[in-house]
């Protein structure tokens, strides 16, 4: 059985979809069979971030409604061997799917893929309930800003209430120069406040905007620092011990934290 990961944040605009696209691409590059699900029904975006928007025929709602089989609805990414997308419906809303249907679908997909990664919509209402229903692990994306951290904390609480064990943190858009000036929370501040384990740190990087413009995930660009961070995250998900890349801010000190990130308590 593969793993079903949900990528969530509470707050919108912190980089969930970008994280899903890049972690998915990086996992595929490691030779894994990956299925990305866009659970943001009505506001689909993962397709454009991946550059697959012109290939959509069927979507998530068609699959749960039994209009077509999931194998037929999946878009196989021709650039990255092993990467597949199940797009969200654009003309429906969150109520078109329920948690039981998502759970059943994720369970089926996990039988066929090494990783099923669910891109969760912002918020904590039904879209969130749907997205987490079939997942057995959760990644929380947060930027080092008060609103994002507050919402992330709320989501951690909700996930724990749902029985999720140890959601892991991805810090996005860290700006080392601002951290050095004391104008941005650093990695330790975020871990201390949220009290969850760190999975990775993605620096702010203009190349993310460029790669999204082009519909080419940054993790495929070997010169991109954010892409490197996502490749590291994928390897850590695979259980490899990968030190945090140097962000020129006492990186050595944080390496200790990453050492605890080994895949413990992953089910099947």
């Amino acid at each position: 059985m593969g793993e079903v990961l949900v990528v969530t944040s509470g707050k919108g605009g912190v980089g969930k979809t970008t994280a899903v696209a890049n972690i998915g691409t990086a996992l595929a590059a490691l030779g894994k069979k990956v299925c990305l699900i866009d659970a943001d029904i009505g506001l689909r975006n993962l397709d454009v971030v991946l550059g697959l928007e012109n290939r959509i025929v069927y979507d998530l709602v068609d699959v749960v409604d039994g209009i077509c089989e999931w194998r037929k609805a999946l878009i196989r990414d021709k650039r990255f061997e092993g990467l597949h997308l199940l797009p969200a419906a654009q003309t429906k809303d969150k109520t078109a799917v329920n948690p039981a249907q998502m759970k059943a679908l994720c369970g089926e997909l996990a039988g066929d893929f090494d990783y099923v990664v669910v891109d969760c919509p912002a918020g904590i209402e039904q879209g969130f309930r749907n997205a987490i229903a079939g997942a057995n692990r959760a990644l929380i994306v947060s930027t080092p800003e008060v609103a994002a951290v507050r919402d992330a904390d709320r989501v951690v609480g909700l996930l724990e209430a749902e029985g999720f064990q140890g959601p892991k943190l991805v810090i996005n858009r860290l700006r080392p120069a601002m951290v050095r000036r004391g104008d941005m929370m650093d990695i330790d501040d975020m871990i201390e406040i949220l009290a969850i384990e760190l999975l990775g740190v993605v620096p702010e990087d203009e190349k993310i905007v460029v790669s999204t413009n082009r519909g080419e995930p940054a993790s495929a660009d070997l010169s991109c620092r954010a892409g490197q961070a996502y490749r590291n995250i994928a390897r850590r998900l695979e259980g490899e011990m990968v030190p945090l890349m140097s962000l020129d801010i006492e990186a050595g000190f944080f390496n200790r934290l990453v050492k605890r990130l080994f895949r413990n308590g992953t089910n099947g």
Partner: protein
């Protein structure tokens, strides 16, 4: 005493952390009215075993103070039940 540290303006990151710390204490201890009702009911049940309580006057609240949250109960007692002291 580090005077420089004492007089300098805190960095914006320190302000952010402190504000988050306080707001998260509030968020994390947010308790639904239904849950508070159940807590109130169970306290009443437990205390009533030994003391006769004025139910109308019973007050159960969460008090937030700095970093701590306290459950404060004000339970007016009518009388001690006979034999409860044994």
């Amino acid at each position: 005493m580090d005077l420089q540290k004492f007089f300098r303006k805190p960095s914006s990151k320190e302000v952010a952390k402190e504000r988050l710390r306080l707001v998260l204490i509030q968020d994390r201890s947010a308790v639904s009215p239904q849950l508070m009702d159940r807590v109130r009911g169970r306290i009443l049940e437990a205390v009533s075993e030994f003391l006769e309580v004025d139910e109308q006057g019973l007050e159960v609240n969460l008090n937030h103070r700095e970093t701590r949250v306290a459950l404060v109960a004000n339970i007016p007692i009518r009388k001690v039940k006979r034999g409860a002291g044994l």
